[in-house]
């Protein structure tokens, strides 16, 4: 039951991603395409590196705990 629901949900997501989003973006003018790429690109880089930052902070904690346990 859960398996069927999951496969249905993932199929719907894939179909939506394949059809809806790209067609809208392709129709944009060249400067708008450039702006979309720039804004989302810069935000994306900051977002991904922010996630790396959070994961490093977590790893620092794990590392510190391990070292304390050793001592």
């Amino acid at each position: 039951m859960l398996g069927a629901w999951l496969s249905m949900a993932s199929e719907a997501v894939v179909t939506a991603a394949e059809t809806a989003a790209p067609t809208g973006l392709v129709a944009l003018s060249l400067p708008m395409k450039g702006l979309v790429t720039t804004v989302f690109g810069l935000l994306g880089v900051f977002l991904v590196l922010l996630l790396f930052f959070v994961s490093i902070k977590l790893m620092q904690r794990i590392g510190a705990k391990k070292e304390n346990a050793h001592e």
């Binding site: 392709v26 395409k33 790429t37 991904v48 590196l49 922010l50 790396f52």
Partner: protein, 410 residues
């Protein structure tokens, strides 16, 4: 038998050099000679510039004409030439950039970054130049190169402008493999030569390009800001977890960056795991050396006169330099912005190390800091920003591929 025809065939290379194509060949030989000179005499990235220069000489040798068909036969290029074989085996399928990243990953110590994780944001800020130049290129390409764009038809025109602009923007990251990866992904084979030459030569010109930009944007007082650092290494468990977590995160959020991030982090895991020293050393030395030779030679082979001696080459080289300057400026200005809100000020020069040219950029920043104040030591912070730049440029490359792919409907 006609003796003249025999002589003409025997010395076809000499005859070729007397034609207009021969003059172009001589110009390419001169350009190749400059690259080799810079490598040997000026010591600018000799491991790359020398093979590129020699590859360019090989690629521009007069073609061997098949006497039966009249077509160029396999020499170093041609469908079965060894440089074509290398190109298909290593660049066309993106293998060489991936292998180089395994080697680079094995060379990088992420410990300084794990101890000062705030430096990671410089790796993001210094990608500003990629996107600023991308926008600039979108405006310039149709206006400066109308003939090139006119050759494409319908929606392909916009697609070509966007693909070319993204590959030019990525040059600013000073990350050769990522630049090649993006250019290759967007099927810009025809532009591969100027793009890769710009990426690799600007990488080697970090000591020339970055200092004036940094000096123009900072005061002497800012350049002498001192920062504290403790020598202790990051915990081993963190160093081992880092490459695994980063690969998983990048692979989930920006799947297009996964091949590059994955190979970089695999190399780093070889280094940090502590049980594969032999493999780590192999990746750092033999693999790095071997792939550098093949990569350089193959990039050089794309510098065929017909693809290189064009106006778009000048535009690509010019915009590549602009991207590099913008990236440096983006990092420095971001550091100055952060300083407005911080009690413990950051030396803004560190922001410039957020580009990918590792470890050259970090060294340049330390050298500049030392020139201002002989007792100022900011190398470790610069290295933190520099390794973040490696990550930032790969993520930016993956995002550009994804976003441009979406807007052009690829």
């Amino acid at each position: 038998m006609d003796v003249w025809a025999l002589l003409k065939e025997l010395f076809s290379g000499v005859v070729y050099m007397g034609t207009f194509e021969g003059v172009k060949t001589l110009i390419m030989f001169t350009i190749a000679g400059i690259l080799i000179y810079l490598a040997i005499k000026k010591d600018y990235e000799p491991a790359l510039l020398l093979p590129i220069g020699f590859g360019a000489i090989l690629a521009n040798l007069p073609p061997i004409i098949d006497t039966v068909t009249g077509n160029p036969a396999a020499s170093v290029l041609g469908s079965e030439g060894f440089l074509t074989v290398l190109f298909n085996a290593g660049i066309k399928n993106e293998l060489f950039p991936i292998l180089i990243f395994i080697a680079v990953g094995a060379m990088i110590d992420f410990s300084p970054l794990l101890k000062e994780p705030t430096m990671i944001f410089f790796g993001a800020a210094a990608q500003f130049g990629i996107f600023a130049t991308f926008l600039l290129a979108l405006f310039l390409i149709p206006n400066v190169l109308p003939d090139v764009i006119a050759m494409a038809e319908g929606p392909e025109k916009q697609s070509l402008v966007l693909r070319l602009a993204s590959a030019i923007g990525i040059i600013g990251a000073a990350d050769g493999p990522t630049t090649l990866y993006v250019a290759n992904h967007f099927k810009l084979t025809e532009y591969m030569a100027p793009i890769s030459v710009a990426a690799y030569s600007y990488m080697s010109l970090v000591p020339v390009i970055q200092p004036p930009v940094i000096r123009a944007l900072t005061t002497k007082k800012e350049r002498t800001i001192r920062m504290t650092y403790t020598e202790q290494r990051a915990p081993r468990v963190a160093l081992i977890l880092f490459p695994i977590v980063v690969t998983a995160l990048a692979g989930i959020i920006v799947p297009m960056s996964a091949p590059l991030v994955g190979s970089l982090m695999f190399g780093n895991l070889l280094r940090e795991c502590g049980v594969l020293e032999r493999l780590s050393k192999t990746a750092q030395n033999e693999l790095a050396n071997l792939v550098t030779i093949l990569l350089g030679l193959t990039i050089g082979s794309t510098m065929v006169a017909a693809n290189f001696l064009r106006w778009d080459t000048l535009l690509i080289l010019g915009l590549g330099l602009v991207a590099f300057v913008f990236d440096t400026a983006g990092g420095v200005l971001f550091a100055k912005l952060i300083n407005l809100f911080r009690k413990n000020k950051i030396n803004p020069m560190i922001g410039a190390a957020g580009i990918s040219a590792f470890p050259m950029s970090a060294r340049v920043i330390q050298k500049m800091a030392k020139a201002e104040d002989p007792y100022n030591f900011i190398l470790m912070q610069s290295i933190s920003a520099n390794v973040s730049g490696q990550l930032g440029s790969i993520v930016a490359g993956g995002l550009v591929i994804t976003l441009v792919g979406l807007v052009i409907g690829w």
